[in-house]
Amino acid sequence: MMASYHPPTELLAAYAAGTLKNSYALCVATHLEYCSECRAAVQRLNIVGAELMEDLAPTEVSESIKSAVFDRLDQIEAGQSSSPSSSASPIGSAFVSDVGNASVQATTAPSEPAGNVPKSLSYFNISDFSSLTWKKATKAISSSRLFCDVNDARVELLRIMPGGSLGKHTHIGEEVTVILQGSFSDEDGVYCRGDFMIRDESHQHMTVATNDAECICLTVQDGPIQFTGWFMRLLNPFLRIIWVRSAEPAY
């Protein structure tokens, strides 16, 4: 199914330019797996990069640089792993040692994670969602931490039981969510697999998983969320530490 909520244009552009921080890049890369429209947009955004690069005033390259590169080609052809940087890709090095590259392609393809786990998460070695360590926050919600980005942005997976609610909340920073499985809704709409949402302080929303299935999503919290219900508001000072623990409906 096609995703119907997409990253804002300037976020896709930052992704293509390579300036997006990892947590956001992970969310965009995940969305792209589900969205051919955005994949095509990124292809076009790469063209913009290429055209801008071609428009730069070219600088002179000394002959010694060129001959150094040709020396490296000799080393590569000789089958030595010669790259001084760690950048020699498995594809590249495999290519020289194996001329028929059909088999090489097969072995270097990213390992296909089982079930509903997107390829973008293959780095975290998740074989399937149920095998993760889920920290139960409420009856309805558990979370599993993936990593921490700059500015303490937290990247985690959230698992919301069918019909479970995240309570009414807003955000101090930005929150990005990509749905990986199931669906949920808030005041603005219903979100399904692949949908990309970005929320900030101006959104006060209440997220509810649909009744028929549990919902799993990838989220980046750039700042702690703020609960706005009368009771939960009392708790806000503590939520900077473990916000999700108190995410029962606040009304």
């Binding site: 244009t9 300037e10 896709l12 552009a13 930052a14 293509a16 330019a17 390579g18 300036t19 921080k21 990892n22 890049a25 992970l26 890369a29 797996e33 051919s36 994949r39 947009a41 990124v42 292809q43 076009r44 955004l45 790469n46 063209i47 913009v48 990069g49 290429a50 055209e51 801008l52 690069m53 071609e54 428009d55 730069l56 070219p58 600088t59 390259v61 640089i65 060129k66 150094a68 590169v69 040709f70 490296r72 080609l73 052809e77 790259s83 950048s87 020699a88 890709s89 594809i91 590249g92 290519f95 590259n101 990213p110 390829k119 973008s120 293959s122 780095y123 990593f147 980005d149 700059v150």
Partner: protein, 198 residues
């Protein structure tokens, strides 16, 4: 063979020439063709590096070398129907830059960032139809020349200097929202990304 083709524009001529060279490198490991690709792209790659780090000539030399080595090593993964050679080389250069930034620890975390770009590039599913690609490239090529200076300036900050929107906003002394909307406007005008009304 190349000379037999009736070529519409000089631009298309160049694109095809680069594709032919890439095919020679990928299939025949042709060093003469590689040398021509080197002469074409290495000065550009140095300029790309210097745009981000003015005056850092050693780093610029390194980027030019390493990206050209990657081109040699990954030549067989290049898909001519999906992207022009220059577009592919741009993504190689950008990914190299992302790796370098990671090494100098601007993004401190547990993730290997190049995978977030690399793998998406490699299996970006449906091949971008050759015709659409060609049309998009022409549009961008023409569009960049027609954009207002301030929009090109913001695109260059982001793409070439590698600035985040926030950094671009600080340097240009513009509100963050203005930077973002210039990016959006420019991309919409070139028909790169059409949606998004604000």
């Amino acid at each position: 063979m190349l000379t037999k083709r009736v070529l519409e524009t000089q631009q298309e001529d160049k694109s095809q020439w680069l594709r032919d060279l890439m095919a020679l490198v990928a299939e025949k490991r042709d060093r003469v063709a590689f040398g021509q690709l080197f002469d074409h792209f290495a000065p550009m790659l140095r300029a790309y590096s210097l745009a981000q780090q003015p005056g850092a000539h050693l780093i610029a030399d390194e980027i030019a070398q390493e990206v050209m080595i990657r081109l040699w090593e990954k030549a067989h993964t290049y898909k001519p129907e999906k992207a022009a050679v220059s577009t592919w080389v741009f993504t190689l250069a950008r990914n190299y830059r992302i790796d370098m930034i990671r090494k100098t620890a601007r993004f401190v975390d547990d993730v290997d960032p190049s995978r977030l770009w690399d793998e998406m590039e490699d299996d970006a599913a449906e091949p971008f139809q050759a015709l659409q690609e060609k049309r998009a490239k022409e549009q961008v090529h023409k569009g960049l020349k027609e954009l207002p200076v301030e929009q090109v300036q913001v695109l260059a900050k982001v793409y070439m200097e590698g600035k985040t929107h926030q950094e671009a906003s600080d340097e240009l002394d513009l509100p963050l929202g203005t930077v973002k909307s210039r990016v959006r406007l420019a991309l919409r005008k070139m028909e790169v990304v059409l949606r998004g009304s604000e």
